[in-house]
Structure formats: C-alpha cells, structure tokens
Amino acid sequence: MVMSVQQTVQMAQRPAKTKPTKPAIDWRGRLLDRAPFLVACLMLALIVGIYGSLQSGVFSLDELNLDTAAAMTLMLAATGQTIVLLRGGIDLSIGGMISLGTVIAATRFTDDASTTALWALIILALGFLIGALNGLLISLLKLQPFLVTLATWSILNGIAMIILPTDGGSIPSWWVGFASAQLLGLTSPVWMLLALLLFWWWFRATRVGIAIQATGSNEKSAFLSGVSIARVNLVTYGLSGLFAAGAALFLVTQTGAGSPTIGKDYILPSVAAAVIGGVSLFGGRGHLAGTLIGAFVLTLIGNLVFVLHVSSYWQPVASGVILLLSVLASSVAEKAARNRAQ
C-alpha cells in the first residue's frame, strides 16, 4: 500500500477518538495497590490462627470484645495519627495529650454525671485546640511537624505532671463500666470500632478529607489547586488531638486512674499500627481499616507472647519484626507496581 505524504501527515494529526468505552478493570494493579493492607490482614489471620490453636475459646464473641477493648486506646490514637500521616506529617504530641487527658479525668470526674460529661467535653475540646495549635505553629513558623509536636509533647507532659505528679486519682465506676456496656452481644469498644470505620468512610469522601490526602500527596500541587495549607494543617492536627483526647477518655475506663506518663506508650505504636496497615509515611496513601488491623496485630502479639509462655520482653521484639516485614511488603509491592506501570 502506498500512501501519499499528505495522507501520512494527516493520519498522524487526526485527533484521537473519545469513545468512553468501558475500560477493563486493572485487577492486578488494584491488588498491588492494596498489597500492604492485604499483608497486614494475612499477618492478623496468622497471629489469630496460632493464638487460636494454643488457646481455646479464641474464636468467640467474648474474645472479640476483650481484644477490641484492649486495642481501642491504641486504635483511637492511631486514627488521629493516620490522618496526620495521610497529610504527610507526624504527631508526637498525642503522648502528652493522652497523659494530660487521663490526669484531668482522674482529678475532675465525679459521680455527678453532668459534671463528668462537662469535663469530658472540655478534654475533647482541649485536645482539638492543642492539636490545632500544633497545626498553626507548623504553618506559621514553617517548622517540621516532628519538632513542633516533640515540643508540645514535652509541654503537655509537664502540665500533666503538675496536675497529678504520680499515677492515681479516681475514675467513677459508671464511667469505667462504659467499656463493658453491651448492645446485641457486642460491647461498646466493638461498636466504637464500627463507628471509627463509618467515620472514615465518610471523612475520606468529604472535601476536607480529600484536601488533607491531596496535601500529603503533593503539597505544591494542592496549593496551586487552591487548597489553604494552613487550614489543612489546622484541621489535621486538630483532629489528631481530638482523637488523642478520646483515647485518654477510653484509657481511663481500662486503668481506672490517671497517669502523667502513660501517653508515651502510644506514640510510636500509633505510627507502627498505621505503617503495618499500609499507611505511607510520605503522605497521600493509606486507609484507616489498615491502621485498625495494625492495632489488632500489635495488641494480639502481647496475647500470643503470653500463651507461648515466653518472657514478655519478646513482645517488642516481635512487634519490631512485624513492622519490618510490613515495610518490606509495601516496598516490594510498590516496586512491582512501578515495574508494571512502565
């Protein structure tokens, strides 16, 4: 076939057709995208499997209620942390906020329900405000989130010490009883877990949620698209503080007392839970479901170490190994996805 040059040039320049044909779904790509999350699920299944084979009664509602209660403080803290990580930041101050929350609760909560409710609201509001302050400082001073929240962690910790120098105080029994309240055979922590997922499903589809993710994905692009970075920081860290305050309010149902130092135990595990669940430390990618699975993994490791009758010092060792495996899985999946894209 001979074509004239004219025809050839026209052929090259003819605009492409825009027939919106229904494209085939890229299943393998989607699978690879979710690989870190799937690996986390697999790990949880494995841990539950081993745990179940060593201990009777693991596959029961009771066990679910128990484990969720054990994991809920971490889950709440990690929910806030997930939002911050999605933004591409990190929040160390949640340690201080959790401690502060528990000591305020332990010194102010009374048997009078309305007083207690008022103070619970004050703690939540304080959490949001302190978080928002973090966000404000990060935007205004253009400082690293790591440094700003390290500083506020220290400040909040100090204030908690001033309020209650040693572990103690008291939490009214009706507040403690909240954690074991049941509805349809499920305790309140399980309902909270479902509520968290529902919240996430909603939050991630709102404009604010999308703006936070977008800012974590590429801050410059988000700015050029009209996002107010300062407002995103305010909301992101505000929500993190709010969830940390919520974690404190739940934590006191488990301990029945306040502690000015307990919060630090949740800082790095909250990051670890998110990372195990496939949330990227570089922002823009991740899902709360993964974080919650990660929190379960970290909590159940403790149970597993207990039933294996080995020294409890093995728990952090196991947690560390799992963290490494998760990061490895994400990086392998990321690499595979990149190779495919080329």
Binding site: M3, T8, P15, T18, W202, A211, N218, S225, G284
Partner: protein
C-alpha cells in the same frame, strides 16, 4: 473592550526583578500568545494572573474591575484558570478526582457524589473531544503527556472565561498537540480568552490572533499575529538578531564506534534494537511518542533492566544501574526528560548540582578541595554561559533554560563521552535552544558521541547526522543525509519498513 488590561506590573523576588512595568491587554474570544525567552517574565506574569503569587506594583483590570487575587481560589472565582507547566495534579488521586478537585459534586452527607462526578467528567471529555482517558485511573500511573491532558481538563472544568496554557503542548505528542491547538480555537469561538505560551513558533502561527512579547521582565511589543514576521518576533524576543537556530551540520563522525547496541530488549517496550553510535556523531532517535524511545534511553543508562549486548568504545560492558553507566572516563551520561524531577535538586545550589555526582574528583586524601571544585564549577558556568548570580544560587530559582544548562554541566563533569540527550530542549526558550544545538555540535567535534531524542521533529531533522526511527520498540528505519525529513520520519514511524 478588553477583557484584561495590565499596566505597569512589577514583581521582585528579593533582589531579583522578575517583572518591571509589564503591560498587556487581551480581548474575549481571542487566542493571545505570550512569547519570550525563559526568564523573560512570562511565568511570573501568569503566576500573578492565576493567583499563585501577588504583584508588588501596577494594576490589573479584568472586566472593568480591579483584580488582585490573594490565591488561586480567588483567581478562579473571577473566572481565571491556569494550566501550569509544573503540573498542579495530585499523584494519589484518580483522574476524575483531580479534574474536579475542590469542586467535587457532593451528596447531602458532604461526601463526593461519584456518579455525578463520573457523568460530569464524561460530559466534559466528550464536549472538548479529549483524547482517551480513564476517569478512574490513579494519576501516578499516567505518562507525562496524559497528565498534561488531565491538567487541561482540570482547567476547563472550572468553565473559565480566561484560560492560561503554559507550554501545554511541550509534553504532548504530535497528535495530542494538534488536538490542543484545535481546542484553543474552539474555546476562543465560545467567547473565552486563551492566553497561550509556547516556544514553538509554528503553533503560535497556527492559532494566535494576537501576541505579546516579553523580554527581561518587560513588555517589548504587542502585535496582530498576521502583521509581523517570524524574524521580527525572534529579534524582539532576544533583543538581537539570531542568525540561525540550527548550527551548520558538519559531520564530525569517525569510523570508531562509541556505542554498539545489539539485540537490546526490555519487556514489551523494546525488542531487538540494534544500532551503532559513532565517535563525533549526533544520532537522532525519532518516531511517534510511546514507541520505545524513553525505554531505550532509560535502559542504556541502566535505569531499567534490559537484555542484549552493549559495547562501549569496542569493549563489552554490562550496565546494571546509573552508577555503573557513569563510572570511569568512558561512561554514559543522561539528560533526562523530567529535569525537575530526575535531573536537578531544586533546593541545592548550582555548584552542588554540578559537582554532586563527581565529588570524588575534588577529593584529596578524603577531604574535599574547595579550590579545585570552585575552579571547575567556574569553568563550567562560563563554558555553558549559565546565567546565575553566583554559583551558590539555588537551582530552583533559575529559568528553565539555565536549569537545563546546569544538567548539561553536571553531565559533562562526569567525563562520560557517550551522551544520551532525551528531549533536552523541552520547555527551553529559543535562544537557549540555539545554544544547546551549537553545544551539541561542538561536543561532537570534540569526539563525544551523542544520542539525541526530541519531541519536536524539526530539531531531529536539522541537528542529527542520522535519525533512527522507532516503531513498536524496534528500529523501523535509519535515515541519512537527504532522506532526513519530517515526512520520511513520519512515514517510517507509521508505515512499513523501508530500506534507508
């Protein structure tokens, strides 16, 4: 009446004057081209118009009202949208989420109404006859060209009265570029104003009603497009006569083979590529975009894996990664396509960028010799005529053409003598383009061997000694001498192989 009138606009960044006393006026319903070398102030001008930065002095009047947007949102509220050269897209969102970002249709719960969003996306793509895009695909999976198209869709989604296209065609293959040119006419016919920035004169000629020329931060002239010649435009842009864009092509190729490639294959994108690049030769690589050119360059540089054999200066080598490619006096160096992402550290100084990969050359007994480094940096800055205040100026603050020169300098300092230039003039102004072509010929004359890809076909035709035309990951033809022409390249790229 004019839709936009700009008077005495100025903007400073610290001590650097980016714009001084710039004027501009444009009507609704026209395509208005903005011309000027890189660093002439075009970018600053459109950043001000689009609300990304604020001006220090002067006035902008849009539709009879004073205009001073505090941020991109405020600009959009007044009906002004920009399609940026540095894209404003979010890698982790889907195509449609990017198009409607911050303007998503919502449900009563405040969540994104996905059905509505999909329908609006399809309607938009249909209305402007967009090249095929998958609305649900994540942006980071798209090629540069596809991203550029999404960026255009995002601009149009705001239904702007003024659309600014900043070098939007430079990332597009021929067919999509043609589509965009048609689109600008369609938009103008709808009564919108399109402000169009391009370094390709033919495009400006094809679509612009009027044009404004910037130089050194000021407006030099404004013309009706058909009342001015190419030569006058170029003269006004650079402030002097540019004798010719393309240097004289004197072949300096020897018989010695610098880079011999046999049976080179990589995945599905490259299959059985054979060619020989000779000492002193500029060998062009052409063809329609997406036929293996990028993969060839990446694989030769060791950035992606490939099978087949490579001989450098007669010796078989295996290149597993860029470090191996760069090693030694006889290595291979690459000027990548995406200079901001891959080649240049924007927050480092010109000096650091130049010497980063060759730090060993200035090290004595494990210590860095600042004097040696400074001497070589000065030599390179002078040789390439990099316009930087001092070598300590941050690379990110240089104009596009000067950034590209820094990458050239970085590559030359590696002492590699086989150079892979992948679209080195993309987004570079016409004056610097000429300098880069001259530099390529000078290097070839010194015995360098250069493999050269350009998305602008005339560059291949006028600069290369021979042109390899790629189709479906293979070399479809090798053109030499009088056979090198746009028609022959297209013919080989699209039709059956013919002997050269």
């Amino acid at each position: 009446m004019d839709l936009v009138t700009v008077n005495g606009l100025s903007k400073r960044y610290g001590g650097i004057v980016a714009l001084s006393e710039a004027t501009f006026s444009a009507r609704a319903g026209e395509v208005h081209a903005l011309l000027g070398e890189n660093g002439a102030g075009k970018s600053t001008f459109i950043q001000i118009l689009s609300g990304a930065v604020q001006h220090d002095g002067g006035s902008i009047v849009v539709d009879g009202q004073d205009y001073r947007p505090a941020n991109p949102d405020a600009a959009q509220a007044r009906g002004i949208a920009a399609v940026f050269q540095e894209l404003s897209l979010i890698p982790d969102l889907s195509v449609e989420q990017n198009i409607w970002f911050r303007h998503e249709p919502r449900t009563w719960l405040g969540t994104v109404n996905r059905t509505q969003m999909r329908l609006k996306t399809l309607a938009l793509l249909e209305k402007y006859n967009f090249p095929a895009l998958r609305p649900d695909q994540e942006l980071r999976r798209l090629t540069l060209a596809e991203r550029q198209i999404v960026e255009i869709a995002k601009g149009l989604a705001k239904d702007p009265r003024i659309l600014i296209l900043d070098e939007a065609t430079s990332a597009l293959p021929a067919r999509e570029a043609e589509w965009l040119l048609n689109l600008t006419r369609q938009l103008a016919a709808e009564g919108r104003l399109v402000i169009f920035i391009s370094h390709r004169m033919a495009e400006v000629r094809a679509i612009a009603d009027r044009l404004t020329i910037f130089r050194n931060g000021s407006t030099v002239a404004a013309h009706e497009a058909d009342a001015v010649s190419d030569n006058e435009i170029v003269t006004q842009m650079i402030g002097r006569h540019l004798d010719r864009l393309y240097p004289e092509r004197v072949s300096t190729a020897t018989d010695r083979i610098a880079l011999g490639v046999k049976g080179f294959s990589s995945g599905s994108r490259l299959s059985g590529v054979d060619f020989a690049l000779r000492e002193g030769e500029v060998l062009g690589v052409g063809g329609l975009q997406g036929h293996g050119q990028r993969e060839l360059f990446q694989a030769l540089f060791g950035a992606t894996k490939a099978s087949g054999s490579i001989e450098l200066w007669g010796k078989p080598v295996s290149i597993g990664n860029p470090r191996q490619a760069l090693t030694g006096k006889d290595g291979i160096a690459l000027v990548p396509e995406d200079r901001r992402g891959q080649g240049l550290l924007l927050t480092k100084s010109v000096r650091e960028n130049l010497t980063l990969s060759v730090i060993k050359r200035f090290t004595e007994n494990g210590l860095l010799s600042r004097q040696k480094e400074a001497a070589l940096v000065k030599e390179m800055v002078d040789f390439l005529r990099i316009k930087a205040g001092t070598p300590e100026q941050l690379a990110g603050t240089l104009s596009g053409g000067n950034q590209q020169k820094v990458i050239f300098g970085k590559m030359l300092l590696t002492q590699a003598r086989v150079l892979l230039l992948y679209d080195p003039t993309r987004g570079v102004d016409v004056g610097t383009k000429g300098e880069i072509f001259q530099l390529m010929r000078d290097l070839a004359a010194k015995g360098y061997a250069i493999l050269f890809h350009s998305s602008d076909m005339p560059e291949l035709v006028h600069v290369a000694d021979r042109v390899l035309v790629m189709r479906n990951g293979r070399i479809a033809a090798t053109l030499e001498g009088v056979h090198i022409s746009e028609e022959e390249i297209l013919r080989a790229a699209m039709l059956e192989t013919r002997a050269a």
